[in-house]
């Protein structure tokens, strides 16, 4: 690559956390100052004070080498073992961890389904350690031996987390500019952004990351966009109080995609298109989950993928995964069951286990989880 083509100046437009997160991310990726990160901070403030971070956030924290202590002290981090989603029929917990264990070629819910249909098993949630911990308000950072696999994210104070990211980004060379009084985007004839004009300064840029929310873009009289056009990339704006966790998730995912496709000044169309293709796939998978939660199974859906998920699950309790899923299988399972679907049949493989063995096995899983949750509760109290 010719040196003159390298991206040397990135301008981020946004407010608070939505801007400081990309700033910190990019500052970590360009530790040597090869690329100057400027942040144009628009007016307005967040209204929410608590944020959910899905488990994948931990990769981002690794990139920043963010100390756990800072998270706890500054961002008031608490572990989280699931998303509490609001659905048409009431709250549904989407757990960060497996239901029971798959066994002899069949998934756990198949075994559960057989017993449940005979009235011999309780709700599926009893067989999920993450769900048990989340309900009890207890936490574990590691899966105890012999327990269903467990993962965790965080519950964070929005202001505290923003302060952390801001300090990191500043400490690594990012500079912010106040644009509460407005700013102007100046493009060349090809539609590429050349400068961001502020009251006190003109910021030249090779690339713009527009991290404003959809609402802010609309309020500015512009048309919101989800993807990457020219040298301007809009950060996804999935933000929904009914389904927490998506904002941080989609920001980090978008930045991961961007880095894997990091351009030079040629801005190849095929790379942008690939970014957009992946971005739209993510949007569609999120929208499937939202539709399901909002409208339940009887809701009309335009999405083939969701229709398939519902029918394949209704029939025999299987999760039909798509490419580029956002939510994990256990989360889909929780959502589908939570919407009141009980599969019509279960997998025949399950019949290989005698009923007696099956019930004993289920009871032992439930029991193990119950005891682990109790211990975790105790430990929490001691600490």
């Amino acid at each position: 690559m010719e040196a003159g083509k390298a991206i040397r100046r990135v301008v981020i437009i946004g407010q608070g956390l939505r801007g400081w997160l990309p700033a910190a991310y990019l500052a970590a990726r360009f530790p040597d100052g090869r690329c100057q990160i400027n942040f144009v901070e628009t007016g307005g403030a967040r209204t929410d004070d608590v944020l959910l971070a899905r488990p994948s956030i931990r990769r981002f924290h690794q990139l920043l080498q963010m100390p756990e202590r800072a998270l706890v002290e500054t961002a008031k981090a608490q572990l989280s073992h699931g998303v509490r989603a609001r659905a048409a029929g009431g709250a549904i917990l989407l757990p960060f961890g497996q239901y029971g264990y798959d066994h002899a070629g069949a998934e756990f819910q198949q075994y559960w389904c057989r017993a449940f249909k005979m009235g011999k098993a309780g709700g599926l949630g009893r067989y999920n350690l993450a769900a048990g911990l989340a309900e009890a308000g207890a936490f574990l950072t590691q899966t105890p031996k012999g327990q269903p696999a467990l993962d965790f994210g965080y519950q964070l104070s929005a202001a505290g987390y923003c302060a952390l990211l801001q300090a990191y980004a500043r400490g690594h060379g990012a500079v912010s500019f106040d644009a509460a009084d407005g700013f102007e985007v100046r493009t060349d004839e090809g539609g590429f952004v050349k400068t961001i004009h502020l009251a006190g300064a003109d910021l030249e840029c090779d690339m713009v990351i527009d991290a404003r929310t959809e609402a802010d873009v609309l309020a500015a009289g512009e048309t919101p966009d989800l993807g990457w056009q020219g040298n301007r990339l809009y950060m996804p704006s999935h933000c929904d109080a009914d389904l927490p966790g998506l904002e941080l998730y989609s920001l980090v995912e978008a930045l991961d995609r961007l880095i894997a496709l990091w351009p030079d000044k040629d801005f190849l169309a095929c790379e942008r298109e690939e970014y957009n293709r992946l971005t739209y796939a993510e949007r569609d998978r999120v929208s499937d989950m939202k539709t399901l939660l909002e409208h339940g199974v009887i809701g009309v859906t335009q999405s083939d993928a969701l229709a398939r998920k519902i029918s394949v699950f209704s029939n025999r309790g299987r999760i039909a995964a798509e490419d580029h899923e956002v939510f994990t299988k256990p989360e889909w399972l929780a959502a589908l069951i939570g919407c009141g679907i009980v599969p019509a049949h279960y997998d025949r493989l399950v019949d290989r286990m005698s009923l007696e063995d099956l019930l004993r096995w289920l009871a032992s899983i439930e029991d193990g989880i119950g005891r682990t949750v109790e211990q975790a509760k105790l430990a929490a109290r001691v600490v």
């Binding site: 690559m1 496709l261 398939r308 490419d323 025949r348």
Partner: protein, 513 residues
Amino acid sequence: MKTIKEIVIVGGGTAGWMSAAAFAKFAHKADIAITLIESEQIGTVGVGEATIPQIAKFNAMLGIDEDAFVKATQATFKLGIEFADWGQIGERYFHPFGVHGFDLEGIDFHQYWTKMKALGEEHALQDYSLNALAAYAGKFMRPKPEHGAVLNRIAYAFHFDATLYAAFLRAHAEAKGVQRIEGVVATVGLDAENGFIDAVTLADGRTVSGDLFIDCTGFRSLLMSDALGIGYEDWSHYLPVDRAVAAATESTETPLPYTRATARGAGWQWKIPLQHRTGNGYVYSSRFLEPEQAELDFRAALNGALLGEPKHLRFVTGRRQKFWHKNCVALGLSAGFMEPLESTSIHLIQSGISKLIALFPDKTLPTVEQDEYNRLLTDDYLHIRDFLILHYKATRRDDTPFWDYVRTMEVPETLQRKMELLRASGRFFKYDAELFDVTSWMAVAVGQGLAPIGFNPMVEGLSDSNIRQSLENMRNLLNKSVAAMPSQEAFIARFCKADPAQVKTGGADGRTN
């Protein structure tokens, strides 16, 4: 719930016996009877000797002891494929299993390699593959965590005698209660109301009824195509080879731990080393070459003495429009064939079996499950198809009309996009269920002259000298590891040497249909 009580498998080739062995594994406790009908008179294709690493999962699922399996099938280990004369006559490259190099700072290895290449470094991509280095040194050992992180990266598959593999699986399946019937299926009876298959009738008048029928009758596709009328999607405009001439020869060298695929005037020729013999075949397009000439060309390229007359095979590349229809599932060649270049057919059988087990129906045979099965397998076929087409499209050969055709043909849009991304700056995004990953795509693209022009500018995060040093360290580490490995010959001698008494059997050994 009306459950399936009887599964009838028609066909006793690799697909038939793989299915029988796999279904027997769970059926025998679930009270399902499995019958397999095959005809010695018709015979099997008898080819299909190279595999990919996924087969280890299948064997493990069956609880097969790997050494016993290697012995019983005269198998050798496969670390990858050497492609000769593909990009241009005189060129060669290695497509390894496993991965190239080590990623740095969260950026793919091949990005750094591309940059160094642009700066004049001479080391090829395969110099960073443990598999490729081991293959060329004739070495092999299985990965084990206690051998350390580097040696644990070995990925391997097998070359085996297809006929012996079917026999091995047959013994396994019969021991689990599969009933075998010898005979030719003459007619297939359909239910007048719903069009399901009721029963098949053999030439001698016997009737075999069942709830679920597995069509493993090979290219004939007796049930799916002939009886149920499911058509075939022809891909020969993308993959124009449609014939093969195959024969076994005496080994002239110690078996190598890799397959060789040499491009020729109207297709390509394989060479697959087994313990007791070498398998060979010339896969070509009859639009560009007559069978007589193909056989002459084929013979001229052989090293060892023939162990039988060459056998001629015909096929059409493509896939069945549905893999599961009513109460019939097609597995193996009856489901489709995309040519053997990357040894994907046996894998597709395995993939079909495991998806069928995961979606196993009851007697109501709901279409939801069929649709899902068909969707998933169609994805499998399309992903593999695109990767195979890449081998023909990415060439500079213009020495024959065959190569002119494939070099200039239009390719599917999905492949076009992948090639563009890879070509521009080595970008690659794998679909979740896609079989071949960035290692494979880079190996073939780079090996055939479609190397990325640029690289991800993120690699500028490391200085050139830093990258150069890292790459050198990698090469040293890999070479040191390979030096510590035993030869494949020694490994086989120690753990899984086949009984030489079996030498007389063999697949493409000249027995005609």
